[in-house]
């Protein structure tokens, strides 16, 4: 059985739907977004531990096992010499160090950040979510957007109403189109020249490959 797990977002609307469903192609997509969201959240102790113990690879491989399309999960093996401090420092170096703004936040890529935030907020609200009150993570953070897609996929799989399942499926395509597909390549373009250490390089390339493959898949599923 599969269930969703949100960190930077939380359910705001009362939701009477099931909280777990049989694993299938859709939950596999949800699971991959869960792994990606978890990886790109600001790292804590477990982040490093997972890297050292190859748990990122295991989680990704397990998550992707039922995917309806080809996806190379890759090998995120960390260099043994990387210390925990260096590992965590790498996250800041790549995405928000010094005078660099946080590259993992969608509004950094928008000419109208205020409006973008309002739209993201409304996207979440329409599907019953909102920013978590216990999290300082901005709602347009990459991890939050992955969380959102994770939730949409789960809800598609769990929806008793075919109409509602269709709504969640269309929402995945629309959100990918308007958000991740439009700005993740920019992150990759900005961060790759910084020669990220493993497994950050792995995560970035898996993120980019996955959203492109998933977008193509969902578009085809919806008829273009």
């Amino acid at each position: 059985m599969f269930t969703f797990s949100l960190s930077g977002l939380e359910i705001k609307a009362s939701d009477s739907g099931p909280i777990e469903v049989e694993e299938n192609e859709t939950t596999a997509r949800s699971a991959v977004y869960m792994v990606l969201g978890s990886f790109f959240a600001p790292p804590g102790d477990s982040h490093f531990d997972k890297a050292v113990n190859d748990h990122w690879e295991k989680e990704m491989t397990e998550a992707a096992s039922l995917l309806p399309f080809e996806f190379d999960t890759g090998h995120p093996t960390i260099d043994e010499a990387t210390s925990k401090e260096a590992y965590i420092g790498e996250y800041d170096r790549l995405f928000s160090s010094g005078d660099r703004l946080n590259l993992l936040v969608a509004s950094q890529y928008s000419s109208d950040p205020e409006n973008l935030m309002a739209q993201v907020k409304r996207d979440y609200e329409y599907f019953g979510l909102g920013g978590s009150e216990s999290s300082e993570r901005p709602i347009d953070h990459l991890a939050s957007e992955c969380d959102f897609l994770q939730y949409l996929c789960f809800k598609e799989a769990a929806s008793p109403s075919p109409r509602l399942a269709g709504s969640y499926r269309r929402a995945q395509r629309d959100f990918l189109e308007r958000h991740l597909i439009s700005w993740v390549p920019d992150i990759v373009a900005k961060v790759t020249p910084l020669n990220p250490i493993k497994p950050y390089d792995w995560a970035l390339s898996r993120l980019n490959d996955f959203i492109q493959a998933d977008y193509a898949y969902i578009k085809a599923l919806l008829g273009g």
Partner: protein, 922 residues
């Protein structure tokens, strides 16, 4: 150099947004709005709509002079910028500025008093068709929460193509305007699109350039005639005679599309010769249905008319009788077809006979028949016909002409009148109890389930019919009420409607008798509200303007309704005539100062968005903000006053202390934008807008084409599929898919065998002279929309005012003017037994003898004594429109109901004694 830079600076900007003008012109023109330093500098037409169908001109640029000058109105002298409370007599012009809190507390207390003492139906709102969806949704929401009555806008303004409803079972039958390009003949009939459809007029000239023949049929040589190939001058109110005469020629000459007539209409249906009613199943079988009808087939003889399809299969219905039919009781009866009866009737409308009625020469009538026969013909109608007392007969006759020539459901054909599309999200919003997609799916699934339940009961019904049934069911729980009962019981119309001298002479009893009969029979059960015993106490005009619009003028409104009202609240962008007579006036934000969407219509099939470019002027607020604050204030005051529970008009227990919270659904919808975004997302989810559409999409594109017509009745009535690469042609479901019409007979119905219609000899279309509404006077006063304003909204626009004389004027013919010694610019009194007004005369040879024209839009306060042109309009309604529960003749919100007429009221005209020329006096 300095001058040059100053000029350049005038046209510089620091922000660009999309804007449209959410008005009852029903145009969806997208403008780019350029702002500088927080002020709108100027606007220009967007012109970004993509081509729809290859070879058909696109919609661009869409716009008119009113829209292009809209920004000037933001700082207009008639703007209301602060809440005002009357301190003198009503209409005295004495006001005090008050705070929003004071205003809302005052209004809230009045509402609570009214609810507590008399019940919530003593609180009455006029439904609006001005200001866009975000102007009307808020007050409808509050009205629903407090159990108030909202007066159906259609019964107030009357844009109801009621003859179309009688014929087709629906009143929104319009294609997109680009469909005109496919026409071979365009009949501008009851329409002056050069004035009223400026953004779309190019399709008429482009169709003509392509080879279409454009024919204007109108009493006066109006501005559209200049672009026509043929002008057919018709006497006011005689259009039915002209249409029927063309039909007579077509039938006589054998130029009728018989297959179309057999498949689409009731003309082959059998009618009993003894009682002139349709032959029904119950006539043939004991206990048979009242709603099953019959053809005569040459081989099978009496054959039941299929109810689930217009596909005749192997049936070849006879178009002419007589035949003998055996009845259930063993007797035999002779039957005719409806066409037999029509042909008999048309003997009264040979070109020679009709010419005497309508003033069009027999040769011209025959020529028209020749032009129309065999050609793709479209009638561009507008909303003029329904405003005649017998406008239904005119439209039924015009529809008959289209039927005989096979002219609907194919590109370039049909009748272009009311054009409602469906923005499902808007309609769903009022049902939502929480935000978001889950609720949307729950509601849509619920609608599907309800439709399925209805389908179980009526397996032959189409989605369109089920949509109507669902809408009918919903009226019992809604706030909407046809205003005819309010007007009869509480406004000053009863006396006028019972004035036999002003009424239709074929009425066999008084209007009151018909009214009582209709109510006694339960034809208007549940919607005849507020009842006669429920005096109105609080009255809201939100963007509406009854002092200007209401036929009957002061006599109806000021003398009868106003004294009953304890609180009159006007919410408006400008000081309208109604605001001048209100107790409290609340300033509303204008387009460009708020987000909004225009009414969804099929003319362009595009939803136009208007963004907030600048802050509202002064203390103006949006209607959402106003009614949200009022809802909160009602809750607050109800608790303070310990009046929290009440029983509504349907005996349901409700609470006032939760109104504020319910209004925003627990705070989920605090802003206008959050509401619109929900509508748009829900519409996208329901399939009426492209997937993934949100406010942001509209903010980026300005306008977006509908992808569907929705799951609700208004959109379904267009009966066609939306295709990405084709213009929208109404009624294709009926012609291509052979889906039946939502009428009693399931076909386009020209024979109404309701007893009242039969008594009035209106079972079939016919001509009737216009009643002498207002008395027996030599002139008839007609109207139409002017070029310069959308109703009264642009009347105060400085740029628009500068293009004309800016004062009310009556246009009269040159010969009449000469005969009466009335010159250009003369002050005249136009009068009848109902009232009078004074205006300036414009002499024009284009106006026919005994006709006067006053264009719509002048505010009463622009006239001397604030007596507007509605003072001479008794506001007569046609008694037959009280009929209910006859197949498709039953109340639908914004649809079938009695509507006030104002065209061709009888008037006299005279120079005002001791008058001076206007130019001199001013």
């Amino acid at each position: 150099m300095e001058t040059t830079n100053q000029y350049r600076k005038r046209w510089s900007w620091d922000r660009v947004t999309w804007g449209t003008h959410c008005l009852n012109c029903l145009a969806t023109c997208s403008y780019r709005v350029y702002s500088r330093d927080g002020k709108v500098a100027f606007e220009e037409q967007g012109g970004t709509i993509a081509e729809i169908e290859a070879g058909v001109p696109d919609f661009n640029p869409l716009g008119c002079q009113k829209g292009s000058a809209w920004s000037l109105q933001l700082d207009g002298e008639d703007r209301i910028t602060k809440p005002l409370r009357r301190v003198g007599e009503r209409g005295s012009g004495k006001w005090e500025e008050i705070t929003w809190d004071e205003a809302l507390a005052d209004i809230a207390d009045s509402i609570i008093d009214a609810i507590d003492e008399d019940g919530p139906e003593s609180v009455v709102f006029e439904e609006s068709v001005e200001g866009g969806l975000m102007a009307q949704s808020p007050f409808l929401r509050l009205a629903s929460l407090i159990g108030a009555v909202t007066l159906d806008a259609q019964g107030l303004v009357n844009d109801l193509p009621i003859g179309q409803h009688i014929t087709f079972g629906k009143f929104s039958c319009a294609s997109t305007v680009d469909d005109s390009f496919h026409s071979e003949v365009l009949l501008l009939w009851h329409a002056n699109p050069a004035y009223t459809s400026i953004p779309y007029f190019h399709y008429i000239t482009e169709a003509r350039y392509k080879g279409a023949k454009v024919i204007s049929i109108a009493p006066d040589y109006n501005a559209s005639c200049v672009n026509a190939d043929m002008y057919v001058p018709v006497k006011p109110g005689s259009d039915a005679a002209l249409a029927l005469s063309i039909c007579q020629v077509l039938l006589e000459d054998g130029k009728v599309d018989l297959d179309f007539v057999k498949a689409q209409t009731d003309l082959p249906l059998l009618v009993r010769s003894d009682n002139l009613r349709f032959l029904r199943e119950r006539d043939l079988v004991k206990g048979g249905s009242e709603e099953h009808f019959y053809f005569w087939d040459q081989t099978k003889e009496v054959v039941e008319v299929p109810r689930s399809t217009l596909d005749l299969g192997e049936i070849d219905p006879a178009l002419h009788g007589p035949f003998k039919v055996a009845l259930a009781d063993g007797s035999e009866v002779e039957v005719f077809t409806v066409l037999d009866l029509i042909e008999k009737r048309l003997l009264d409308y040979t070109p020679e006979l009709a010419s005497a009625i309508c003033g069009v020469s027999p040769e011209t009538i025959r020529e028209l028949a020749l032009i129309i026969a065999g050609n793709k013909t479209k009638i561009i109608e507008g909303f003029n016909a329904p405003k005649y007392f017998h406008g239904d007969l005119m439209e039924r006759s015009m529809c008959l002409l289209l039927a005989l020539t096979g002219n609907w459901g194919k590109p370039g054909t049909g009748i272009q009148g009311l054009a409602l599309a469906g923005l499902d999200g808007y309609l769903l919003f009022s049902m939502k109890t929480k935000q978001g997609v889950e609720e949307t799916a729950r509601l849509l699934d619920g609608i599907d389930a309800s439709m399925e339940q209805l389908r179980q009961r009526d397996p032959e019904a189409t989605d369109e019919m089920l949509g109507n049934q669902l809408l009918t069911l919903s009226t019992s729980a809604g706030t909407s009420a046809p205003p005819v009962f309010f007007n009869y019981n509480h406004v000053g119309y009863k006396e006028s409607w019972n004035n036999s001298a002003w009424q239709e002479p074929t009425m066999t009893k008084s209007f009151s008798s018909y009214m009582e009969d209709a109510l006694r029979r339960g034809w208007w059960g549940g919607v005849a509200r507020p009842s006669a015993g429920m005096a109105p106490r609080v009255f809201f005009a939100v963007g509406t303007n009854p002092m200007r619009r209401a036929r009957g003028g002061k006599r109806a409104i000021l003398e009868t309704l106003w004294p009953k009202l304890e609180k009159i609240v006007a919410v408006d962008i400008r000081m309208s005539s109604t605001a001048l007579y209100a107790d409290i006036v609340l300033p509303a934000a204008m387009q460009y100062e708020r987000v909004n969407v225009q009414y969804p219509i099929t003319h362009t099939l595009h939803l136009a968005f208007s963004d907030k470019a600048v802050e509202p002027k002064g203390e103006a607020k949006t209607e959402w903000e106003i009614f949200s604050a009022l809802a909160n204030k009602i809750s607050e005051r109800s608790v303070e006053r310990d009046i929290v529970e009440f029983t509504d008009g349907r005996r349901l227990s409700r609470r006032l202390d939760t109104v504020g919270d319910s209004y925003t659904i627990g705070g989920a919808f605090q802003s206008d934008e959050s509401v619109i975004d929900e509508w748009i997302r829900d519409s996208s989810d329901a399939g009426t807008l492209p997937p993934g559409t949100s406010v942001e999409t509209l903010r980026t594109k300005g306008t977006i084409r509908f992808t569907g017509l929705g799951v609700f009745a208004p959109g379904l009535s267009v009966a066609t599929d939306v295709k990405d690469d084709k213009v929208l042609t109404a009624f294709q479901w009926h012609v291509d898919k052979k889906l039946p019409f939502p009428t009693l007979t399931k076909r386009a119905q020209f024979y109404i065998d309701h007893p009242w219609f039969m008594d009035a000899d209106e079972a079939l279309p016919r001509h009737k002279d216009n009643p002498k509404m207002g008395g027996d006077y030599p002139f008839v006063l007609t109207s139409g929309h002017s070029r310069w304003t959308v109703h009264a909204v642009s009347m105060g626009n400085s740029a628009v005012l500068s293009t004309h004389r800016g004062q009310p004027l009556v246009v009269m013919g040159a010969k009449d003017a000469l005969d009466l010694n009335i010159g250009e610019g003369t002050r005249v009194k136009v009068y009848n037994d109902h009232g009078s007004f004074i205006a300036m005369v414009k002499v024009a040879p284009r106006v026919r003898p005994n006709q006067l024209i006053i264009y719509n839009g002048f505010e009463p306060h622009m006239f001397e004594g604030w007596n507007g042109s509605n003072e001479v309009e008794p506001g007569m309604v046609k008694w037959l429109h009280l009929v209910g529960k006859y197949g498709h003749l039953r109340y639908l919100p914004f649809g079938w109901q009695p509507v006030p007429s104002d065209r061709a009221v009888s008037v006299g005209i005279m120079s005002v004694p001791d008058s001076q020329r206007i130019e001199e006096s001013s």
